[in-house]
Symmetry: D2
Subunit: 156 residues, 4 copies
């Protein structure tokens, strides 16, 4: 049921490096790239046609992070304009994986790459399924009766 996405369709959004995000080494502190990944995910959702905030408040579905990775190639500095590129790497109605590229806007130099894997849950952190109306945003086919039965006997 996994959607292969060798070349994900990247959505771009921009952040400008905040002083708060730098550390005493003069560059952006490593944990803050995960915050930028989140900024990228939220922009990805908007670009696809929904607000992540509404998935939580209206549909009681949360994309809890199960795993996060980041590889740091070159440091980012205060006031630099940064492009966060976010693509869908894998999607089922239970597990979503995003891929990220962090670039310097002026030169398009690649500063970092990363991935996050998310489990769909309800507000009590219990595993759940993506609501049907969100399937299209994640390039999942609509659920048909026969699909559903198939899935029940041969789930991932």
């Amino acid at each position: 049921m996994l959607k292969s996405a060798a070349e994900p369709d990247f959505i771009e959004t921009e952040v400008s490096v905040r002083y708060a995000e730098t550390d005493k080494m003069g560059v952006v502190y490593y944990a803050n790239y995960l915050v930028w990944f989140e900024v990228g995910r939220v922009a990805w959702c908007k670009a696809k046609g929904f607000h992540y905030a509404e998935m939580e408040t209206k549909d009681d579905r949360y994309l809890m992070v199960a795993e996060a990775n980041c590889r740091y190639k070159s440091p980012a500095r205060f006031e630099e304009d940064i492009v966060v590129r976010t693509g869908l790497a894998r999607a089922t109605d239970k597990v979503i994986r995003y891929r990220y590229e962090i670039c310097k806007k002026s030169t398009r130099e690649l500063l970092a790459t990363g991935e996050t894997t998310h489990v769909v849950t309800d507000m009590n952190y219990h595993p759940a399924r993506l609501p049907d109306r969100y399937r299209k945003f994640f390039s999942l086919p609509p659920r048909r009766a026969e699909n559903y039965e198939l899935r029940m006997t041969n789930d991932e």
Copy 2:
């Protein structure tokens, strides 16, 4: 109904400066002192005999911040041990004010001072009153019947 506390009874707790808390100037970023104030408040609650987490989850009472101030006297550096001193400056069953002193542990040098003012609310951010069982922690007298009636006709 305000408790005057010219010399508040300070509760001390310690933090060690995290790399994440520094900025490109090599010292602790100014907003992080407000995080230390929060660490101080939580330690103050524990020292007084209750957990702030339980006030929220068991009693549906939140100390929402209405105002925060900080005066920065000398910078704090990575790995320095810091003493956060927290005292109750004012308390009613609706409004709580804390006072803070941030010191370097090794020399007791005063690095910053501050205050935060909190409004007691429920989980929907609506004003509420401190539950009776918390009154003693904030040096408020127990509510008596006559007090209660008096208050109803002559509230602050």
Copy 3:
């Protein structure tokens, strides 16, 4: 030598509330407003014609925070678009004060107000003066010889 600015000329910039900026109460954590103030200051500098990053790296001048205040009126929520309005409240070549208004973009509702006071320093945190070429950005008159002598005998 202080420039009175009863109605400062506010510069506006926007932020969108990040998930990272919220806390378990469901709204933006109070210290993060100070980060938004910083975003506002940097935007103010750009609007006036210079990059704060260059003041630090090229001119060895830093606007160290000496005091910060924030009054919280209404909470900000995840994904809300926020307008940060930043105005110069006072300026000498040694001390700069900014004023801030945080508004919800959609309704222009005022969510918070605040001020920060900054001391001009060099990279070793020692008091210094604003370089002459920055005076105009802060509405300070150019330094003339007679002014300079006057100032030496009757400094603030």
Copy 4:
């Protein structure tokens, strides 16, 4: 030249979950585990006999993060006492890798695991070697003349 460490010698340190570290889902925001990893690394250094701050300021050597991973198993909540366990996974005089386990103190439940890989650099982010006096802390043998020559002709 890599030191295999199948069962690294874990150093334990404790943090208490800060309100600032939680997000609107009511649990610790995922990027903050990387901050805890940093707290663990600093504690590891202290336990081994040196201060990481001094490696930077006195020896001009920085452990820049090249890669970070975290797997999240169970959420951490406000005011919970957390044990950060940090072990050395690999070490050369150019590359250091740490492994982490994040546990709930009360039950020892494993909440997350992770790794960070660091490149030894100077303050300009250029690759460098660990100073000789730090080799023992990372279980690296002292450099001898013959070793040195060997290394020069057959470096990794």
